[in-house]
Symmetry: C2
Subunit: 352 residues, 2 copies
């Protein structure tokens, strides 16, 4: 009944310090005392396996932390599980520039980007990490620094190069690249104060509780108020969808609350332009009566009327350098924990 399973090749002994190869079905099979094919069945057609066996196998899978190898699966089954989509352009998304930056580097290395959208949810991110890990990617790019415990665990176990991008962190999983969202928000709010604004509203994206970047921007806003002796007022804050509509809704909320705002700090350009549109609809003069600031410096910021003051973040650069770090790692160079602070810069235009 037992599996003879010994690797034919000379993988390091278990005790060796060398990077262990990921576990295989054979490992699971041995632990569960079944044959390899049974493990395969449990994973693909659980109904065909007796309940007791199934439970035992599933437990073994969990103990080992087994992640199926879809590459092997694809080879044999002739199904890669991949749909290749070729699109004309990813322009005008906040993440578009990052993707372009990454591709500019990856292309020359023959690497391809498998893209997953977590919808700002760490839970969703965890599922994507699990799914992607099965394809044995050469590296993983994660947005931000907020991840579930499981995500970190899987990533550690997989021993795959990981880069967290978009924010700074003192405890990176592996590599990281970004800028200080807190300082950026602080600087922008501070600039508003410097121009004489005192009743500064905050219109930010929903999800402060789960997303590091959003929380940091909020903290930066409050830091600036606090350090300038301006009282914080919950009435002056609104949490909204990340959209033009969201910005408009936020502005409406601030206005309806009756608090006499003279500026609105927004956590993104899209929200800020939404705020601007709402002001235009109401005939509120910008920046005379209300100043507005965004973050990201997307193209619209420089084009809208009046042009939006915002924080410029080198997104293309972020993608490019993230990819470079990945490539360097894959090439065996630079194995140290690499963290890069890209910085940011204030772009003061007409809305302030």
């Amino acid at each position: 009944m037992s599996i003879s399973g010994k690797r034919h090749t000379k993988r390091g002994e278990p005790a060796e310090s060398a990077a262990r190869a990921p576990s295989r079905m054979a490992d699971v099979a041995r632990l569960a005392d079944v044959s390899i094919i049974t493990v395969s069945r449990v994973l693909r057609e659980p109904a065909r396996v007796a309940e007791t066996t199934r439970t035992r196998v599933l437990e073994a899978v969990r103990t080992i932390g087994y992640v199926p190898n879809l590459v092997a699966s694809s080879l044999k089954s002739r199904r890669s599980g991949i749909v290749a989509a070729i699109i004309p352009s990813v322009a005008h998304s906040i993440v578009a520039e990052v993707i372009r930056g990454m591709n500019s580097v990856l292309k020359s290395e023959g690497l391809h980007l498998l893209l997953g959208d977590s919808g700002f949810s760490p839970q969703e991110e965890e599922e994507l990490v699990a799914a992607f890990l099965a394809r044995r990617p050469d590296a993983i790019y994660l947005t931000g620094t907020t991840h579930t415990r499981n995500t970190r665990q899987m990533l550690d176990a997989a021993r795959v190069p990981v880069i967290e991008a978009g924010n700074l962190t003192v405890s990176p999983i592996d590599m990281s690249i970004g800028y200080s969202n807190r300082q950026a928000a602080y600087a922008m709010t501070h600039a508003l104060i410097g121009r004489g604004r005192r009743r500064i509203g905050y219109v930010g994206q929903i999800g402060r509780d789960v997303i590091d970047r959003v929380q940091d921007r909020y903290d930066g806003y409050r830091d600036a108020l606090g350090q300038n002796g301006i009282a914080f007022s919950a009435e002056l804050t609104a949490e909204v969808e990340l959209s033009y509509r969201g910005g408009a809704a936020g502005m409406t909320a601030l206005l309806d609350s009756g608090c006499d705002v003279d500026a609105v700090f927004c956590t993104s350009d899209v929200i800020a332009v939404g705020v601007l549109f709402e002001c235009q609809r109401r005939g509120i003069s910008v920046p005379k009566r209300i100043a507005i600031t965004g973050m990201d410096d997307q193209e619209i910021a420089s084009q809208c009327v009046p042009a939006l003051s915002t924080v410029k973040i080198p997104r293309y650069e972020m993608g490019r350098r993230a990819a470079e770090m990945i490539c360097a790692r894959l090439a065996g160079e630079a194995s140290g924990k690499n963290s890069i602070d890209l910085g940011f810069s204030l772009v003061l235009r007409e809305t302030t």
Copy 2:
């Protein structure tokens, strides 16, 4: 010297009508009368192979139309060549809704999206198709109907399900889904005429010569003019980058040409909003003096001030249904040539 190479499995005889499996290195090796590993080397480290051999192998590769199998390569070399990127959102890109729509379906099937950006270039698209084919995708999603001869050839040879999305075509490679860009542009221009506009400018994206959708929109615009007895004037047209800046530049060009425009038909919302911004900068009243129309109905169209008249295209739906067609095909259903016309609708708002 010759290769014993006979497949151990019972693939259909060459003459059989069943779908042939893709060619392997062994096929190339046999034709070039070398060993398999030599083929492998020619492809990966050409320098290590004698020039004459190399030439012979390369020729065999070409004759056969061999596309390497990166899945097998990945399994052996333990390098998948894939970088998995997990991002918080692909919102606000023109293609974002399509991607979201596709993912909503693919997710439940355990399928993943490999994304490539062709930058509106059929040449680039060809290279991406070649690269992606090597990963043996279960299906390929292409934007538009303009493709190089080579692209079609590779796709035919690969016998992979292909869906062309975004425009209608009478000669699809395989499946297709979209709407009539020409009719949409015609309808919008016609609506402008119906509201009394006569000096209707055209501000469109560069690339009419290579991109079906752009050409079709231009044709639709001219159709409408022609059928209403309005003379076409090249002075009234501008080809610009697909950006807010591009729209502004286009408006500037029309104004500078001295032709007295009273409306501007734009081939995208982004361009249209750019035009609107330029009007605002110049104090030109919209729609009083100049009417503006866009295409796509992106979020900004309903939010900008005044709200933009545009053509609504069901992009999420397009992605969702494209993915459904792919899944149906993979499940063995619906093997016929499937073409869907999603239609479009005019959304007349304040800029007209």
